[in-house]
Symmetry: C2
Subunit: 482 residues, 2 copies
């Protein structure tokens, strides 16, 4: 059954939550008194639609239904997750919780996007404290997986587990913080860095652009994949963490940071920051910067996915949860169903030719797996290598569009497995890929027959597919009409 | 003429410098009294060889010569860059500078890898203060581009410009810090975050793994591409930086960070960190973690390169500086010369089939550019699309190996341009790619003739290439012997 989320408070954060729930197949009911809310959430949703689906190597659920409501009571009907993203004032938040709890299901999760308040502060004076927890996301909410889930002893243990499961289901990583503190974990770091940055600007040491470059050309790239401690563990070398701390720890006693004081935000300092930021980024509109950011994030997260590491490992796990089971059949096999990722397009604005082959390669991998040439078979020293490929490009396709590939086994005898892939967007044929796979020993790197069980499956499916009508374009050379 | 660098002090940092200089074609002379220095630098160099060359889309210079020397005086002979990476004690550093300056060229740059000392402290009491500047790198030095170049008024302005040029030449980004402070810029942030992290562990709020996840699943990925201020500029939306500071700034007054105090590094705290780090990462050796880290960094930096942003934009600029000019010829045209990047290999351990097509696509792009279908031609609304491709995989190739592609124009008439690419490692044929390109209007997305100037060049080169011996494999269908 379709799940329902209520979004109380739109804006960038509420809109990001709405987009993530919708694209993961949830219905979303929004309450936001801002007359611009619908437009604003629409803009976030547009960004999310172009970036999120292509993060997956599998088909995403069908998008849920989005509706806007005049009252909180109306918005929370049927919701099993209610996300509060109203302004960061405790009195406003507590008033909002009272309205939510007067109308919502007592078993629903009420998550707060607060970056500063402790859950115990949010729970104080509410009808059912056990429902309310901090679920603090990071912008853009539709792409970044981290959610700080902060709970108290008042929270129901079962509901916490439910919350973790639901967050994981929409592709998030719930980091369960069991001991509440102001600002949770990540924002404490952000605060510390922000404060230091203000001093550097105030003292004229560096501009906003120089500070950004100091971060993104150096430790920022490191942190994107390993964080702080694992990075230092590697830096410390074989001597280990204790050695690293012995080396680095004493520096903490040195007068290196300005962090003992809070710099006053005078008009001069604010102007200096705003002017420097204009000089650095003013050539791009915020909308352009959002798209640049999302292109970068998607590209880097997909790069990490190919390495099965960090945020990329989360994406791989999400794919495994979302993937529809595929079985061999006497008909063409649906080996790929996915959206075109942002990083698969090129200067012509469409999917780059090499990405067609990447998708066909994925189709071949899936077909291999189905005939028994799976990870264990490969680990045991056998595999198929591609000997030849013939791609015919029939039509264009663009980022975010849904594609699928149907695969026929044209021939399977001895060392050879001859496949024919057809790539579609809906009914529209985009390309065909004809592949000759050769079975090899990974030890000798030479051709050899598949193991008997795999050979038998290939022969059986090839015999069945031989009875199907032969698609156009098989067996042609380049430049010869199909 | 080959440039020479002297590396005074090996280890992880000095070794990283050595590797970067060597792989960018410099000769490197090392002084390090550690009897293990040669082995240690060899290990860093091995990591660098597998990761750095593939960051480029063009051929790297030939690797320089590495030599080890018993005295500083011997090491600094002929060096135009001398990099000091000795232990972080001012007396040791100053003694080292004295030995260096007694033997080195007075016009050489003497860079210090210090993460904490100010250049004025390093210069004090030296024979020629104008030579000595801070050139603070980030680990792994062979991959991360940031160098904090910190100078004083004692430094010669011309030498500073020389230093910037040499750093840029080896693929680094010199961030010139003109007003010296302890710990420069980036390490002030690292200090602030490290200190906060120690408190979180000491107070039992989070483990090392939870802290790393809080960073790498959230703001870490953001910072890898935009840093702090540009990230917040986007978050602030159309209202701009002033609005953002008005919203976020006051939070600084709240008691959110523990940064007023320095936590004492008791045995208990050190043990807690070491134990948690073992639990988090102990399943991998440091050597494994280094390779995982480098795979991740290369993949993300190359992802950013495809977006021409951040550290990736630096790589693109570096390619432009390194690229050898290519011209059309009556012989096959050398359209690609590069190393196989780490992220082009797959579970079979060799270059993935889709990456062969990516390299052939790059070869096609270069050939298009040479016949006049360049960025301006495409911006004016014309391009070639690939209609068909036939790839024959002849042999395997692995990460870090040098490949090149020679391109023939088999036919060029009307809308059609028929190319035949041959990919080699040295003399070994790896694959052929036969491509039918169709000239299109980017407005109508339909086939049309090229503009006359481009058509004339294509016809001319096709006529010349028609006189060459026809390579095996042209015009064959999949499964037909070439």
């Amino acid at each position: 059954m379709t799940k329902t989320a209520a979004i109380i408070g739109g804006g960038v954060i509420g809109g990001g939550w709405a987009a993530r729930f919708l694209l993961m197949g949830w219905d979303v009911r929004v309450f936001d008194p801002d007359p611009e809310a619908e437009r604003k959430i629409g803009e976030v949703l547009e960004n999310a639609r172009r970036s999120l689906p292509g993060l997956a190597e599998v088909a995403m659920p069908n998008e849920g239904a989005l509706s806007f409501h005049d009252t909180i009571a109306d918005a929370v009907i049927d919701a099993i997750w209610i996300q509060e993203s109203v302004p960061e004032r405790l009195d406003i938040k507590q008033k909002t919780f009272a309205e939510i709890q007067a109308a919502c299901h007592p078993g629903a999760v009420i998550g707060s996007s607060t970056s500063g308040f402790k859950p115990s502060e949010l729970q104080t004076g509410t009808a059912r404290p056990n429902q309310i927890m901090v679920a603090h996301p990071f912008n853009p909410v539709y792409l970044l997986p981290l959610i700080e889930l902060v709970t108290t002893d008042a929270n129901n243990a079962e509901l916490i587990e439910t919350a973790k499961g639901l967050l994981t289901g929409i592709g998030c990583y719930p980091l369960h913080v069991k001991k509440e503190i102001d600002a949770h974990i990540a924002d404490r770091f952000l605060e510390a860095v922000w404060r230091e940055a203000l001093w550097l600007i105030k003292d004229g040491i560096a501009t906003t652009e120089e500070i950004d470059n100091a971060i993104r050309y150096g430790f920022g790239i490191r942190w994107a994949q390993m964080g702080l401690f694992e990075t230092y563990r590697v830096a410390g070398g074989e001597a280990g963490m204790k050695h690293f701390i012995a080396q680095f720890g004493p520096c903490l006693q040195w007068p290196w940071t300005k962090l003992m004081d809070v710099p006053e935000l005078t008009d001069d300092l604010v102007d200096a920051i705003a002017d420097q930021s204009d000089a650095q980024s003013g050539m791009h509109s915020i909308r352009e910067l959002e798209r640049i950011r999302d292109n970068n994030l998607v590209s880097m997260m997909r790069a990490l996915k190919a390495q099965d590491w960090g945020a990329g490992a989360l994406l791989k796990a999400q794919d495994a949860r979302l993937a529809d089971p595929v079985v061999l059949s006497d008909q063409a096999v649906r080996t790929v169903a996915r959206a075109v990722p942002l990083d698969w397009t090129d200067y012509n604005g469409h999917m780059n030719e090499a990405r067609y082959l990447q998708a066909f390669g994925d189709a071949t991998d899936k077909f291999m797996e189905l005939v028994g040439c799976d990870a264990a078979y490969i680990a045991a020293g056998n595999s198929f290598f591609t000997a030849e490929t013939h791609i015919r490009h029939i039509d264009e396709v663009h980022a975010g569009h849904k594609i699928h590939i149907d695969t026929l086994c044209v021939m399977g005898e001895g060392k050879k497995m001859h496949l024919f892939h057809q790539m579609f967007e809906g009914d529209r044929l985009l390309a065909t890929g004809e592949h000759m796979q050769i079975h090899v020993s990974l030890e000798t790197r030479r051709a050899c027959d598949p193991l008997p069980a795999v050979a038998a499956v290939i022969q059986k499916v090839a015999a069945a597919h031989a009875l199907l009508p032969k698609p156009a374009g098989i067996g042609k050379a380049v430049g010869v009409k199909g």
